[in-house]
Amino acid sequence: MTLEVLSEIINAKRVSGSNDAGVEIYEAFASDLMSDVLTLDMHNPMLITGLSNLQTIRTAEMADINVIVLARGKKASPEMIELAQELNIFILETEFSVFKTSGILYQNAIKPLY
């Protein structure tokens, strides 16, 4: 799924990342626990989270995640956006909860990791 389509179905606004040519989402993982995210062995899943701080971006960097969905109305701070831009990480913000975001994406064929 392209970022454009994905953003549309979860009603999300993109606040970081500009050139999304070739970015396709196939799998996602939802967690507020960054240590849990760091245990993932898969390449390039999308992260759906309610945790919005600099360590969310750092964790994505280490775990090779390049798309983060901040759910439940969480906003990325200017520092988060700056770091995400530098690392070429896309941040999407949605008012939907983690559960609703995950449910919609699951229904639209985004696969879980486990």
Binding site: D32, L33, M34, S35, D36, V37, L38, T39, L51, N53, L54, Q55, T56, R58, T59, E61, M62, A63, D64, E79
Partner: protein
């Protein structure tokens, strides 16, 4: 052979991960295998967050040669009373601030062990902790 040195400031969550980020960039430049880079940076980042979360100050040094990546993290902090217990998944002494950052669930040390080929932990309660991690390149 390449050596990298970093200082980590305890309690400074804004900078937590900066050393790991720099190490990742260096390993990429050295064209090290993707899976090995990921294992290394996940282990280093968990260790870096541990220093920020628990210690007053720490140093992180990396030695890369053709055979292995060796990382030593030395901190001045409370130390670990019972290392076996700290290695158990789910055991944590982290405070609320650490948990707000998405850590402190007692997964750090087990995750470091999972991602390294060798892990040695020594600690002096009340003084500090030293982690030696090795990732084999061949």
């Amino acid at each position: 052979m390449l050596n990298l040195e970093y200082t980590i400031e305890g309690g400074n969550f804004s900078d937590a991960g900066k050393a790991s980020s720099d190490i990742k960039k260096t390993l990429k430049q050295l064209s090290i295998d993707y899976a090995l880079i990921k294992r290394t940076v996940v282990a280093v980042y968990e260790a870096e967050v541990n220093v920020v979360a628990h210690a007053r100050q720490g140093t992180l040094s990396v030695e890369i040669n053709t055979r292995q990546i060796k990382i030593v993290v030395d901190d001045h902090g409370p130390g670990i009373e019972d290392i076996d217990k700290a290695m158990q998944a789910g055991y944590s002494t982290a405070n609320a601030r650490v948990r707000e950052m998405g850590f402190g669930a007692g997964m750090g040390l087990p995750n470091i062990k999972k991602n390294t080929d060798e892990l040695n932990i020594s600690s002096q309660p009340g003084q500090g902790t030293r982690l030696e991690m090795i990732i084999n390149l061949s």
